[in-house]
Symmetry: C2
Subunit: 760 residues, 2 copies
Amino acid sequence: MASVQDISVSASINLLSALAFLLAFAFLRIQPFNDRVYFPKWYLEGIRASPRRSGPSVRKFVNLDFRTYIKFWNWMPAALRMPEPELIDHAGLDSAVYIRIYLLGLKIFVPIAILAFAILVPVNWTGKTLDDIKDLTYSDIDKLSISNVPSGSKRFWAHIVMAYVFTFWTCYVLYKEYKIISTKRLHFLASANRRPDQYTVLVRNVPPDPDESVSEHVEHFFCVNHPEHYLTHQIVYDANKLAKLVEKKKSLYNWYTYYQTRYERNLKNRPQTKTGFWGLWGKTVDAINYYSEEIEKTSEEEAAEREKVMSDPKSIMPAAFVSFKSRWGAAVCAQTQQTSNPTLWLTEWAPEPRDVYWDNLAIPFVELNVRRLLMTVALFFLTFFFMLPIAFVQSLASIDGIEKVLPFLKPLIEAKVIKSIIQGFLPGIALKIFLILLPTILMTMSKIEGFISLSYLDRKSASKYHLFLLVNVFFGSIITGAAFQQLHKFANQAPSEIPKTVGVAIPMKATFFITYIMVDGWAGIAAEILRLVPLIMFHLKNTFLVKTEQDREQAMDPGSINFSVSEPRIQLYFLLGLVYAPVTPILLPFIIIFFTFSFVVFRHQIINVYDQKYESGAKFWPDVHRRVIIGLIISQVLLMGSLSTRDAPKATPLILVLPVLTIWFHQICKGRFESAFVKFPLQDAMVKDTLERATEPKLNLKVYLQDAYVHPVFKGIEFERPPVIDEEENNPLVSTKRNSCRGSKTGSIGSPDSVVCITE
Amino acid sequence: MASVQDISVSASINLLSALAFLLAFAFLRIQPFNDRVYFPKWYLEGIRASPRRSGPSVRKFVNLDFRTYIKFWNWMPAALRMPEPELIDHAGLDSAVYIRIYLLGLKIFVPIAILAFAILVPVNWTGKTLDDIKDLTYSDIDKLSISNVPSGSKRFWAHIVMAYVFTFWTCYVLYKEYKIISTKRLHFLASANRRPDQYTVLVRNVPPDPDESVSEHVEHFFCVNHPEHYLTHQIVYDANKLAKLVEKKKSLYNWYTYYQTRYERNLKNRPQTKTGFWGLWGKTVDAINYYSEEIEKTSEEEAAEREKVMSDPKSIMPAAFVSFKSRWGAAVCAQTQQTSNPTLWLTEWAPEPRDVYWDNLAIPFVELNVRRLLMTVALFFLTFFFMLPIAFVQSLASIDGIEKVLPFLKPLIEAKVIKSIIQGFLPGIALKIFLILLPTILMTMSKIEGFISLSYLDRKSASKYHLFLLVNVFFGSIITGAAFQQLHKFANQAPSEIPKTVGVAIPMKATFFITYIMVDGWAGIAAEILRLVPLIMFHLKNTFLVKTEQDREQAMDPGSINFSVSEPRIQLYFLLGLVYAPVTPILLPFIIIFFTFSFVVFRHQIINVYDQKYESGAKFWPDVHRRVIIGLIISQVLLMGSLSTRDAPKATPLILVLPVLTIWFHQICKGRFESAFVKFPLQDAMVKDTLERATEPKLNLKVYLQDAYVHPVFKGIEFERPPVIDEEENNPLVSTKRNSCRGSKTGSIGSPDSVVCITE
């Protein structure tokens, strides 16, 4: 059991490492040669130009203006200065709402912490149970927790009342926030510029027709069933193989450039490589010749594949992007059922073109069901049997465990400082290492499940990761100390016993979670702002691959918020805060520091660094809301269990009311707000349509939409279009500049051929 | 513990009583003066006329043709003879699908019973555990059950394999049936005649507007947001008070007629009544004068109220029935969200006019939420605390219980026949009495929850009743013998212990459930066909109230299938069958007899008697399907518990696969079929619209829809219409005969003023 001293050692280590990260960041960010690592967003916006273009040569690389070193904290106020509407314009609604999750944390926990310190801490401190026990398993921190209140005491009324206050406050803040976010979303959608997805519906599971091609079939179906609204459609090609070839060619080209650069620097020594895997074995050949031949070969393959995809009817998927003449028509088609067989002609809002996950567009209904079943079972096993190794490492990470397994280390470990380090540090690190592998697995599982947009994949992976963190990090950390097989234990224990077992263990685990917050939270956020991996990658690329300014643009990796990983982690802090607020309020300041720090850092990141891969209009908020509610309910149930083992008077029925009310509150919020994130109201569509008809009566929508949903590998290449039925539309076209610009900007992600266009 | 002898006594009693009911029915139904009780459906169809109109006077009342007495069974083949398409035409899809639930039972259980008797009964019988025990708590029936197989025997493989076979067979039949029913529903909807609800959407929560009336506001909103489709609308008046007055007047008129008739029969004695409650106390007055005055008074009140409702803007509810020019327009509006605030302008398909539950049309969103919360809590308490009295009565109903409470009855009870009667009969009867009160309470709860159509109310009440039967009849009967407080026990027992406890008790309760099936099932169905209450009521009315042929029409009460009560009861038999199939297969024949008998009886009833109050197009089938799935899962879990206490090899993981697969199967069915019961596909709407435009180009839809959704109390009365915006529609009207006829037929339910119109 860690003492206050352990905690302070751990806190200072973590604070120092966080500070070191921050200082490193403050130093690195003002060096001009790192400019594209720490301010890529501004380059993409076209506002910032490379500092190397002018000025004396040393200053291009190193900042010699020492005044700027003194003001190294100034990124923090700068990050907070941009007002929110501008932030939404600059970084998109997704990012702006994402950092509001941290704000939500502050709004919930600051008042709760103040109340808890004003009321619960004195109540616990004067309980004085632990003074009598003199047991080594309790530390000073426990004196501030509920453990210090004697069994059956009337002091528990304070905890019950506080549980009510915390619940109502959390619900109030959640409600207000849901309202704000849904208003922001509706406003964002209403004020958004014209975008192809506003007019477009994704149709899947087009039934095969013996007499017609997919394209004709789609066209006829929608001409008949949406006669006044159907405009055009774009069929979907199975270009997965082609995309792989394009990817391969890009990689070969990188190697070619690398060897070319090496050769240019040292003309005497012509570089060589081996033909085998990663150039590690095989026949030794001249590298430049080898790669130029390989590129040639791949180009031919690519051309052949491209030809095949566009001519072979088998590579046309039974899916299409159908566009309508108005937003109203698209809103109607997306929300209604088309045929009596609900597994055919499935319609849903098309994601943004850059949000589409092309690989999953053509999975038939039954296969989708089988995949989901398999992934559900897989998730179950992953969640419940992944924790065995964690428990093993954690049992090693205790002093006793290490001494048992490696007895010769005993004298070293017994040294006081090292003991503190081990106890404060190792359990958190062990968890952390396990968790690094996980998101990729979960994302792959979501992809197998067949979701069709990147944003949806992110949200689904986040759900899985949340479940995982809940079971393994939260419950796993609480229970494993006592028993390895949590699931088995839960199955063989009465439902009323589980909250008791967990509830009793919770105050004792406070120190562990405080450590966890510092290691995972504080240090993690400080590492986030340093961007070590992109920093190294950029400089490697810059040295070996960059030849032109355009190459440098490519080498720059702004990255984006990894929602599927970060959001469930934040939720863990919400859960910890809510669970510990009535039990061990001393944990709350650590969480508040985490939320504050994260808020500032992520605000800085979305302003200066990240470039979102898609814009879903904060569609993830219902998930965020739901998970906070889940945390709230868990906290109530655990408090109930905890109090019922302490003979608190009438606690169980009194607290049982809270989860019922919380679930009901969730239902109300769902009914009140969720549809703003799922459906698109006809009134809003009609308003925008009417406005557009008035302001741009000559707009040729068909041309605007024509290439919007072309697979990125086809971008910039002319290919056969389906014949147009509606002949009157084939008039001389008014092609706007914005149009062509948007098209190519969309294509710039993942496609090496296209050029970024900033002349909007 | 009841022995085989007890069962046979009980079986013979129940068989005899069922036979007595059937003989009584066979006798009564061929008496002409009962014709309107046993064949009201045909009168309503206009095919059968009163037999009293012609022929010799005795024959009008008593059937003297003795040949018909000999063929008294002939109603059974007659009931089976009508082919299903004709049945759907005659009685509606709801009724035709309802009796298919019994057919589903037969399809599931006949093959299962054959398999179980071929395989499981020999396996159990040769187990021979009970031969050695010689314990009085086991009867011969138990020898055929799983109890007779020794612990840890390899024979349990037979039960596990059979559990798989039963599950797959049940799922297969369910899938086939779901497919058949959804096809039937779609075909029914596609071939349905023009009905107002096809064009109409119910709009609720119209926001208040300071400048416009509700009617204007609705009109403007839909003119703007559905400009090409909006046709007309009908506002909803708060006519609940008026409806009560109409009801009161009808009742007063009945009393007036009653006294008038008495006076006419005995002119000397002018009848008198008392003015107090039900004529039991108060001042004695002349009855005929009193009631004619009262009628006068109520008529005046009614006229005043009618005036008030139509002129006072406060009696206009914020709801409206909005009709569209095409089915396509209505389908679009019903399935989409109208505004960004999802609690305003809520649209849904309008129920049929006769299906509307007018009282609930104007409940605001928040109040609705509060009502649902309260009713959920109430249902919880009703479900879990209603069982205490049942348990008490059942503990009395055992021989030992009675002897303890009433020791002087001991010699009487010990007599063998009486003992059998008590043991076989009483527990079932005690349950039955409790259950009679319940449906009304549950229906009231559903009404408070605010559902807006009778069909929805029925379905929701059925859900509640199903939960109640599951907890109290099924689990209650199994557990209470051991402990009163099932809920408390479940909360304090491990989740894996519950199936074990219940699973062990199940084979021992087989005899109880066999008795229950006979008392509740067999005798209940026989009583159903006799229609004792309507028989008595009709003859009472006929004697005292009927003066004209039209009065007799009114006195006739065809009734309808009480879905909210019958369906959950059937589900109990499904559950019993599925649970006992692998454990005590001897129960299956009793269930099969129940399903066969019910099928024939209800087919007879829907052909000859029942007149459905509404037609929902078998919208209840997803509920039926879901509940059978729930039963299947319960049976699997209980079998798992049962086998794990008997040391069956590897039973738990093997059977654990079954519920996972079953839930997955349910998901597939839901995705595949459910939308056919919830949404209306645009393609089908478009087909019908196109057809209609071709066949009836001159149809004036506005006139057709004008009065469709008027509250029944306003039927037949001219009242102010909202001004028509679309002037071109006001052309000379082509009013079809069918049109006016349908309108008045719709109104005939619940409205005494209108006349049934048969001239279609």
